[in-house]
């Protein structure tokens, strides 16, 4: 279980990205984080695996206080938290295989990995994950020769290599068109349902939230303004989260 208590993040330039945010995520949930750009969604996700250091507050995961861990202890925790990014964040010039294998870096011997050595086990696992995402024939091409949707699937495969208990997905479909958005979210849903991986996913579109998430929280200017089931987001709630001028748009 992931428990966030009074989380606040103030950037050095004075921007307050998160104000006193508290919520809980039960194991096996698919929690959607919604809000406008700049509402603090990305900061929130990155505070959980401490890619961004929180200013104050507490993050507890299965009884461990993450905010109190040293950098090297935190690295061990990160292994169990996969992350998927809006811009995919693949190493474009490396092969798909190398990108996927890099998900194992937290587990393997640092010295062997410096020479691009991964065990046969890891290679097998990488191929299995690629197959699961329908990319087995793309294993040895350069990452930047893939389309956007394929690149995001590589990103998911990389996260799966970590054998994560939790996946943090930061706007995983914001750079993709609607058809691909559904395909990517279906994969995340599958990981959530079949493997029991908890998913924390920030999303723009309410339709996608309704369709995939089991629960949602709404952020506005760094504060939680909504917590509940996706179906509970009515027009009034919608306007609190997205502002008075916002219109609902439907994709597919």
């Amino acid at each position: 279980m992931l428990k966030i208590e009074n989380l606040t993040k103030v950037y050095p330039n004075g921007t307050v990205a998160l104000r006193d945010v508290s919520f809980e995520v039960a194991d096996g949930e698919f929690l959607a984080v919604i809000g406008l750009s700049g509402s603090g969604k990305s900061t929130l996700l990155r505070c959980i695996n401490r890619l961004i250091e929180p200013t104050s507050g507490r993050i507890t995961w299965n009884g461990t206080d993450l905010t109190a861990l040293s950098q090297s202890e935190m690295r061990k925790v990160r292994r169990q938290m996969g992350m998927v990014f809006q811009q995919f964040n693949l190493v474009k010039r490396s092969s798909v295989m190398t990108n996927v294998l890099s998900g194992r870096l937290g587990y393997v011997s640092p010295y062997q990995s410096l020479f691009n050595y991964f065990s046969a086990d890891d290679h097998g696992r990488a191929l299995k994950n690629l197959e699961r995402l329908g990319l087995q024939d793309k294993a040895y091409v350069r990452a930047d020769s893939l389309s956007g949707g394929q690149q995001q699937r590589v990103g998911i495969a990389r996260a799966l290599m970590q054998e994560p208990k939790l996946i943090l997905a930061d706007e995983p479909v914001a750079s993709l068109d609607p058809v691909l958005s559904h395909s990517i979210l279906k994969y995340l849903e599958q990981m959530n349902k079949e493997d029991g991986i908890t998913v924390l996913c920030s999303l723009h579109f309410l339709d996608l939230v309704h369709r995939y998430s089991t629960r949602a929280i709404g952020l506005k200017e760094g504060r939680i303004v909504f917590q509940g089931l996706p179906q509970e987001i009515d027009d009034a709630q919608f306007k609190t989260i997205f502002g008075q001028e916002a219109e609902r748009v439907t994709i597919l």
Binding site: R78, G82, R93, S95, S102, R142, R158
Partner: protein
């Protein structure tokens, strides 16, 4: 222009009087602050330069002319204030022209230009030109052409030498028996120096560049301090030219190829380190974030998120540096010994012009090849070919081809190591006087007479570079039209002209200014004039190439439009081509002046006058404290020029 302030016509008289008393004061009073200060600075600099010229050089006959021009400039400033106050258009170009004329007259005098010598001593230089046509590379013996002895000295030869121990032990030769042994020539040595320096520079620059990259160091505790220290270190080392490093290194490890290699390496490490670190700073932060999120440590992040992104730009910069190092390797011998530069000094001393000419030709050929390979390879990296394969790639060491390449590279490396006489032990046993020399060197001498001498030679050097840039640029303009593919090639004759022009530019460009100086020393005598002419040749070649490329890159649209109006060829040039190419031309010229000042500081080593001659003299006379003054002066001037030329070019573009 500031249009908000009302015209102060009633104050025109006051403004003029102010400008009469203090140049620029009228303009300042009219709130044209930049203009006023520029005029004031201009008058002060011009007055100082005129005064300095007349004091240091015997030029009574032109003294009154110079002061007359100066008075005209002063008068222009009064007129400018008056017209400015009345809100009339000002004659900016007139003032600029007057200042430029004064500068060039001074430049002409202090660089000791004697055009008559070009004619009266033409007889003497014909010997050199004949040598250039018949270089000492081959001799005719019994009807067949054979490589001459000089060819062997430059390229390499096979000599009978006592068999080395390893041959004896293998039983392939008798002890003491003579076996044919290849002896590499001076050019082979030069190539080895260039390759070895580049190799060593890569190895040292890569780790240093990470310490000088902000995005890496900010992830390490205390990294920011290391970052600033490393940046400063790289900038200081980079601002000292290879040749000057050569002078310093020679004191440390003694004359020879090793000194040349070290000098090149030191400068290259700083230059590459800076470029590499900038490339590291510009990488996409996304993959770093992603790899960090997997729980990887710093080394793994560098290996998997940073290195794959920086390999192509690193390779491209390294190839460019290799090209530069090969060029510098041809001249570093002038001060450090070793390589073709050392050979050239020796042959000139002996008056061996056929040998000198042969060396020039060999240098030209090697550098043209290097230039071509480096450019082609860089282009291939930057376009980036995609490798698509359906199967897992095998490790490289399993392919025979890769093994052969590896063996060849290893062999080249061993050969280069030997030829560049690398001997790390020498680093730890410097000459006994070394500590004293260094102490002498850093206690720079600022006594008035030394300061005056250094300032004088420094100004000469700056003027030398200015005149060389002007002369080279002027000749390059018409020539560059001949070397532009889009203008030439309409018929057979113009195609021939095009190839001739391009070829001439490429050959001339491949030889460093320092190697040309000997020709002009023979022609017009030792001094800044010879150095200026040598610089003008390289300027002409480089600027000619850049100009012709600028012409080739012009937008053909306006060309078509002007031609469609029924304009003649000349009209097309004036109305469609010139407006497009003048801004890049000026930008290139300013950049070239900047480069030329650096080179002008070293042409003195071959008799080209200026501050290099002074530096060479001080080093020769073991007056290291004075040499220190010269080096500091050079570093300051080069840094200022670097900064100023970058600023000016920024405003132009």
């Amino acid at each position: 222009m500031d249009t908000s302030s009302p015209p102060r016509s009633q104050n025109a008289l006051l403004a003029s009087v102010l400008s009469l008393l203090i140049p620029g004061a009228g303009q300042l009073y009219l709130r044209k602050h930049q203009r006023g200060l520029a005029i004031l600075a201009g008058v002060l600099v011009l007055a100082y330069l005129i005064n300095w010229t007349l004091k240091n050089f015997a030029l009574e006959e032109i003294a009154s002319w110079l002061w007359l021009l100066f008075a005209l400039f002063w008068a222009w400033n009064i007129l400018d204030a008056y017209r400015l106050a009345r809100g009339q258009t000002t004659y900016n170009r007139l003032g600029l022209l007057l200042a430029i004329v004064i500068i060039y007259v001074i430049g002409w005098c202090v660089t000791d230009i004697n055009l008559d010598r070009l004619v009266t001593r033409f007889q003497d230089v014909q010997v050199v030109f004949r040598a250039l046509v018949y270089p000492d590379l081959f001799t005719q013996e019994g009807g067949t052409w054979q490589p001459s002895e000089n060819f062997g000295d430059i390229i390499g030869k096979v000599v009978d030498r006592p068999a080395p121990d390893w041959l004896v032990q293998l039983g392939l030769a008798q002890k003491g028996a003579k076996v044919p042994t290849p002896v590499p020539g001076k050019m082979a040595e030069t190539i080895a120096i260039g390759l070895m320096a580049t190799f060593l520079a890569i190895i040292l620059a890569i780790p240093l560049s990470f310490f000088a990259a902000h995005n890496i160091m900010s992830r390490v505790p205390g990294g920011t301090v290391i970052y600033y220290a490393m940046r400063t270190f790289l900038n200081v080392v980079r601002s000292v030219d290879t040749i000057i490093w050569g002078l310093i290194i020679v004191v440390w490890v003694g004359l020879g190829s090793f000194a040349g290699t070290l000098a090149l390496t030191i400068h290259s490490v700083a230059a590459l380190g800076k470029l590499y670190s900038e490339e590291v700073e510009h990488i996409d932060p996304g993959p770093i974030e992603a790899i960090t999120a997997t729980g990887a440590n710093l080394l793994q992040i560098i290996r998997y998120a940073v290195i794959p992104q920086i390999v192509p730009p690193f390779l491209a910069y390294t190839l460019l540096r290799w090209d530069i190092n090969m060029r510098m390797a041809t001249v570093v011998g002038f001060v450090a010994g070793g390589g073709i530069g050392f050979f050239v000094i020796e042959t000139i001393r002996k008056g061996g012009y056929e040998q000198y000419a042969a060396a020039l030709w060999v240098v030209a050929i090697v550098i043209i090849v290097v230039d071509y390979v480096s450019a082609k390879w860089r282009a291939r990296i930057l376009t980036g070919e995609d490798k698509v394969s359906a199967e897992a790639p095998k490790p490289f060491y399993t392919s025979l081809r890769a093994l052969v390449w590896l063996a060849v590279l290893l062999l080249v490396f061993v050969l280069c190591w030997q030829l560049s006489e690398i001997d790390p032990r020498k680093l730890f046993e410097p000459a006994p006087t070394f500590v004293k020399v260094v102490r002498d060197f850093v206690t720079i001498d600022l006594s008035p007479d030394v300061f005056d001498t250094v300032l004088k030679q420094m100004l000469i050097t700056i003027f030398q570079a200015l005149l060389a840039t002007t002369l080279g640029g002027l000749v390059a303009v018409p020539f560059s039209f001949l070397a532009a593919r889009n203008l030439m090639g309409g018929n057979a004759l113009s195609l021939v002209l095009y190839y001739l022009a391009r070829g001439a530019l490429n050959v001339l460009r491949s030889i460093e200014a320092l190697l040309y100086v000997a020709i002009f020393v023979f022609w017009v005598g030792i001094g800044p004039f010879a150095g200026m002419l040598a610089l003008a040749i390289t300027t002409f070649a480089l600027i000619g190439k850049l100009f012709s490329e600028a012409i080739e890159n012009i937008d053909p649209g306006p060309l078509e439009a002007v031609a469609a109006t029924g304009a003649t060829g000349l009209q097309t040039i004036v109305y469609a081509i010139l407006p497009q190419i003048i801004p890049p031309f000026i930008s290139y010229l300013i950049y070239q002046w900047d480069i030329n000042i650096r080179i002008a500081t070293i042409v003195g080593f071959a008799g080209g006058g200026g501050v290099g001659l002074l530096l060479n003299t001080y080093f020769g006379m073991l007056q290291y404290h004075k040499a220190g003054t010269v080096v500091v002066a050079i570093v300051i001037v080069v840094a200022i020029m670097d900064f100023a030329s970058a600023k000016i070019r920024e405003r132009l573009v």
